[in-house]
């Protein structure tokens, strides 16, 4: 009897196209979008339109600058030119272009550039008198990403030009050696793994919040609970079957996602990895507990869906599913730290050895467990087991 | 009699099915005309063409004396329609829904009057999506009546309703007839067709297979009525039953089955005999042929399979 009911619920769930889409297709689409965008944000195709006002005339200083600019505006094998330079005579025109977002920054070589350059080079060699440095002006609009990026890049280029100049001028300057280390990350970090963990959590919770929560609220509303209470089939059994069917859907969706991630993006995420497995379980447990909670406190499916959305939205974005949030603005950091999704996603990533969580390991288990307990207790006390429809 | 609607050679063909396959009929003013047929017979398509929702692929419609290729808005002013589906804009109240429909027509009746007519007075400030099936159906009929139409189309108005709600709808339809309105009804309930209709048109696979009054249909079957009951020692009583001169008599164990045209006469004899002889009979079953039998005979299938 119970198995039949379970099967019936499972099949009715899977048959519904909506469920099929949101639970099975959407996570895969989201994972694809995320990996596509972030996996390829390697800066290979960075290119900015830059206005150049060159009033510098001929001389050594301007020659250096022009060579540098020529260099960065020429594409080399496999790499796009960093800057597309538009040469203008008129400052007003350049400003207009910057205003109109036609260029990212304006680079201006002033008239006195060569004079100052010669002074600096000449004086610095024979006296200690410091002359005014030749200065290239960059105008940017601070809030435009492109503008800030372009000006930063230009500054870096100029800095290396100066370093080169110093060496040529035989200034005794030390070199620098750069090495790097990524904290909390193993060698095999991949975006696919990173997002897969996030999307898995998203998928569990959307099943819990919307499929289970709505279902319970809906059944309560239309009085199935009441009708069932008049049959030998107890509400408890009905609930267990419902929960079990949602659990199976979560597992199926997870398996699909992992297989997809493996074959399409070469992810190495494994559900059965003993380090990640507990967090899969915790994810399912919490998603179900929240689903029960939503179903229990909602009058009908609409209310459940509203409550679900209000919770789901901040929880997923402030739960580190798609980007790190541990060090987010203090105004909402408290939310990140009480959010079970944060711990589950972090736990999976730590388990896979791609990103370490900056919190003690026990908290990764404890916080989600505590939430599951609280949600279950609230559900049991608020849910009307006799099944009186409102 | 005035012919309010003439349909000739009406056709609607879809790639996979001939939904309406060349049908002809005429409806007189003040009649209740019923299209009877199983699901998928083409009733709704026929209706929707005449209501001006769908375009016909062929044939001719003559409405109120005007020949039309397709039903125009001039005609729509004079007809009222209730579709099979009775969904309305969900978050509108009953009263608002009916006045919305009133706004579609040049002339309309006062909304309150129509609400009263379909007995929705108490529900007029309720949202339509909170109503029961029967109440929704009455809203649908109210919307069909708001322009004081000469002809009203009701597509399966009682499908899915409980017996009480069904009776309410029947009352409304009979009331409409009383007011001289012409009613075009579709149904797959033979009791409904039999009880309400002046003319029943039986449709199957997009074609009309018979058209007559309900009585005419049944008579065309040439079948008799049956009375059967159970009585102890039936075989010994055979002579008694034979005296009542039935057309046929069969006794099977304690069950007696009498075939007759004079059903009332035989029943009277049965009751007075049993009273006089103090013999108790039980499990009486009276069966008269109905439109179901007509349909079965015409198509070899039951109406609702």
């Amino acid at each position: 009897m119970k198995m039949n009911l379970f099967k019936a619920l499972l099949i009715s769930n899977i048959r519904e196209k909506e469920v099929l889409f949101w639970i099975f297709a959407f996570p895969i689409i989201l994972l694809t979008i995320m990996v596509m965008i972030f996996g390829s944000m390697d800066g290979q195709d960075i290119n900015f339109k830059v206005a150049l006002i060159d009033k510098g005339g001929e001389g050594m200083g301007t020659t250096i600058i022009r060579d540098v600019l020529k260099d960065v505006s020429t594409s080399s094998e496999g790499r796009k030119a960093l800057f597309d330079i538009i040469v203008l005579d008129d400052t007003e025109e350049a400003r207009q272009m910057l205003m109109d977002q036609k260029v990212s920054i304006i680079i201006e070589i002033p008239e006195d550039f060569n004079v100052k350059f010669n002074q600096v080079v000449f004086f610095s060699r024979i006296t200690a008198i410091s002359a005014q440095s030749p200065t290239v002006t960059v105008e940017r609009v601070a809030l435009r990403n492109a503008s800030t990026l372009a000006s930063d890049i230009f500054k870096q280029i100029m800095s290396s030009v100066n370093l080169e100049a110093a060496k040529r001028m035989n200034v005794k300057i030390s070199g620098y050696e750069y090495s790097e280390e990524t904290v909390g990350q193993s060698e095999n970090f991949s975006y696919a793994d990173f997002f897969l963990a996030g999307v898995l959590v998203m998928s569990f919770f959307s099943t819990g919040f919307f499929a289970l929560g709505n279902d319970i609220a809906h059944n309560k509303h239309i009085g199935i609970m009441k009708r069932l209470s008049a049959t030998p089939l107890s509400i408890r059994k009905f609930m267990y079957s419902n929960i079990l069917s949602k659990m199976l859907i979560m597992v199926m969706s997870a398996v699909m996602l992992v297989i997809f991630g493996h074959f399409v993006f070469g992810s190495s995420f494994s559900i059965l990895n003993p380090e990640t497995f507990p967090f899969i379980l915790l994810g399912i447990l919490d998603a179900l507990a929240f689903g029960l909670f939503i179903g229990s406190i909602s009058k009908n499916a609409n209310a459940a869906s509203a409550i679900g959305n209000v919770l789901f939205f901040p929880m997923q974005f402030l739960g580190g599913l798609y980007f790190e949030v541990w060090d987010i603005s203090p105004a909402v950091r408290w939310f990140v730290y009480i959010n079970p999704m944060t711990y589950i996603a972090a736990g999976m990533r730590q388990g896979m050895g791609i990103v370490d969580a900056p919190v003690p390991a026990y908290s990764l288990y404890l916080v989600p467990l505590a939430w599951a307990a609280v949600m279950l207790v609230i559900s049991i006390f608020t849910f009307d087991w006799r099944g009186d429809a409102s | 009699m005035d012919k309010i609607l003439k349909v000739k050679g009406l056709k609607k063909h879809y790639p996979t099915v001939k939904a309406v396959d060349g049908i002809d009929f005429e409806i007189e003013k003040g009649q209740i005309f019923t299209l009877l047929g199983p699901n998928g017979a083409g009733k709704t398509t026929t209706l929707e063409i005449i209501e001006g929702i769908k375009k016909a692929d062929g044939g001719e419609i003559e409405f109120f004396g005007r020949k039309l290729k397709n039903v125009d808005s001039h005609t729509k002013e004079k007809i009222g329609v209730s579709l099979q589906s009775t969904n309305f804009i969900p978050h509108l109240k009953v009263r608002e829904t009916i006045s919305l429909f009133a706004s579609f027509f040049k002339n309309s009746l006062p909304v309150e009057q129509v609400i009263k007519f379909v007995s929705l007075d108490e529900k007029k400030n309720d949202y339509v999506d909170k109503l029961s099936g029967g109440q929704k159906q009455r809203v649908a009929i109210a919307c069909a009546l708001i322009n004081d139409p000469e002809m009203i189309f009701l597509d399966e108005p009682t499908t899915g309703l409980d017996p009480q709600a069904r009776r309410n709808i029947w009352d409304i339809i009979e009331h409409l007839k009383g007011e001289g309105k012409t009613v075009f009804l579709t149904t797959h309930y033979m009791e409904e067709a039999q009880r309400l209709s002046d003319v029943v048109c039986i449709m199957d696979h997009g074609r009309i297979i018979a058209m007559d009054t309900p009585v005419g249909h049944i008579n065309s079957l040439g079948e008799k009525n049956y009375i059967s009951f159970v009585v102890k020692n039936a075989a010994e009583l055979k002579t008694v039953f034979e005296e009542w001169s039935p057309e046929a008599l069969e006794i099977d164990g304690d069950r007696v089955e009498i075939t007759t045209e004079k059903i009332q006469e035989i029943l009277e004899k049965l009751f007075s005999w049993s009273k006089k002889q103090k013999i108790i009979f039980s499990d009486i079953d009276i069966r008269q042929p109905n439109l179901e039998d007509v349909f079965l005979k015409l198509t070899g299938r039951r109406l609702r399979d």
Partner: protein, 370 residues
């Protein structure tokens, strides 16, 4: 006209009495604004365009030169950086990982003979920012070695922040424009799918067609209705942004209204096109949802388009949200743009709407007649 007004009022009631619809139109964009406003109010999501200096952690080797210390502190500001000193390498690494004091990355500095050894610590979670931070560190390192050698840059760069906007703009103001663009995109896309798709599925449209009521009247009543209702969410977002987050708008009202109307009309047309293709409202809704999710990430609202690969940048050019967001920043006084471009996009939006929406009406009612 009588039936148009009645239909308009009916549709208005239908939307405003539907608690879920009200919730999603009004409250949801607000929730969106609040979550992102609080979370990223101090800087944008990717950190690259935050207006303040970028904080980083630094640890100096015990026996490192005192000079190194002073040099770093003296030159950081010049590079838009703000150093915080850590007590040990371990503390530095931990700080980077947990974002202590808001540091984005960390470095250790050590002078070994002729070479300055610089080791960078990045947070694994900030993977996509790593190349930006690396370039910060490069610039800083070059600055340090030059300064240590007493070498003054011969060629200097003077970066000037230009403000074309009448009032000072902030990251959150910039973000509000993005939230508005997202809100318009979503509600525009859904508007006709809801009215047409569901009304058709529920046979409500069919019932109207059995009366002299014209399908086009329904279409225009529902377009007008959606324009009116969605504008409420725009107003609410603006009010909350102004009073709760202190955003200083200088709104170009006529342009704002035009931009709102044409953007909505465009998105309704896109929703309508989806509906013509997919017919079934739920399926159409799903397609619309995926489309808007994709647009949200690839329209320059949250992530700079310049960092994306070429092909995605090309894709973004075909996404209306890219233009809607840009126009929105302009009309809210958060950024400037070519006025001609603003009007061109608006005219194109309107033109698409004027073609697609009547076509949608004709197609849907035609489908109903077959």
């Amino acid at each position: 006209m009588k039936s148009f007004l009645h239909m308009f009022v009916a549709l208005f009631h239908n939307r405003t009495r539907d608690k879920m619809a009200v919730f999603f139109t009004l409250f949801f964009p607000l929730l969106f604004l609040i979550v992102f406003g609080l979370a990223f109010g101090g800087g944008s999501m990717d950190g690259s365009s935050s207006s303040g200096p970028t904080r980083f952690g630094v640890y100096f080797d015990e026996n490192s030169d005192k000079d190194l210390h002073d040099i770093l502190l003296s030159i950081s500001e010049e590079y838009g950086l703000d150093p915080r000193e850590a007590t040990s390498t371990a503390a530095l690494a931990e700080g980077v990982e947990k974002g202590y004091s808001g540091i984005k990355f960390g470095i250790t500095l050590k002078q070994e003979g002729d070479t300055l050894k610089i080791r960078a610590y990045y947070d694994a979670g900030d993977k996509n920012q790593q190349s930006l931070y690396k370039s910060n560190i490069d610039t800083l390192a070059m600055g340090i070695v030059k300064k240590a050698a007493g070498f003054e840059d011969i060629l200097k760069v003077d970066v000037k922040d230009i403000e074309f906007t009448p009032k000072k703009v902030t990251t959150i103001g910039y973000m509000v424009a993005g939230v508005l663009a997202i809100s318009i995109t979503f509600s525009g896309l859904m508007a006709l799918i809801i009215n047409f798709g569901y009304f058709r599925k529920e046979k409500i449209l069919k019932r109207f067609l059995a009366t002299p009521f014209k399908g086009s009247t329904f279409l225009y009543a529902s377009v007008l209705n959606s324009l009116l209702i969605s504008s409420a969410s725009i107003v609410i977002i603006l009010i909350v942004a102004k009073f709760a987050f202190g955003v200083d708008f200088s709104i170009l009202w006529p342009e704002m209204i035009v931009n709102y109307l044409t953007s909505m009309i465009l998105m309704m047309s896109v929703g309508g096109l989806f509906l013509m293709i997919f017919k079934e409202p739920n399926a159409t809704m799903n397609v619309a949802n995926v489309f808007s999710t994709l647009m949200m990430f690839v329209s320059g609202v949250y992530f700079p388009l310049q960092l994306m690969p070429d092909w995605l940048q090309t894709v973004a050019k075909f996404f209306p949200m890219t233009y809607i967001a840009n126009n929105m920043r302009y009309v809210l006084g958060q950024d400037t743009m070519a006025v001609s471009e603003f009007w061109t996009t608006n005219i194109v939006f309107l033109a698409i709407g004027l073609i697609v929406i009547p076509l949608l009406g004709a197609t849907i009612f035609k489908q109903e007649q077959d």
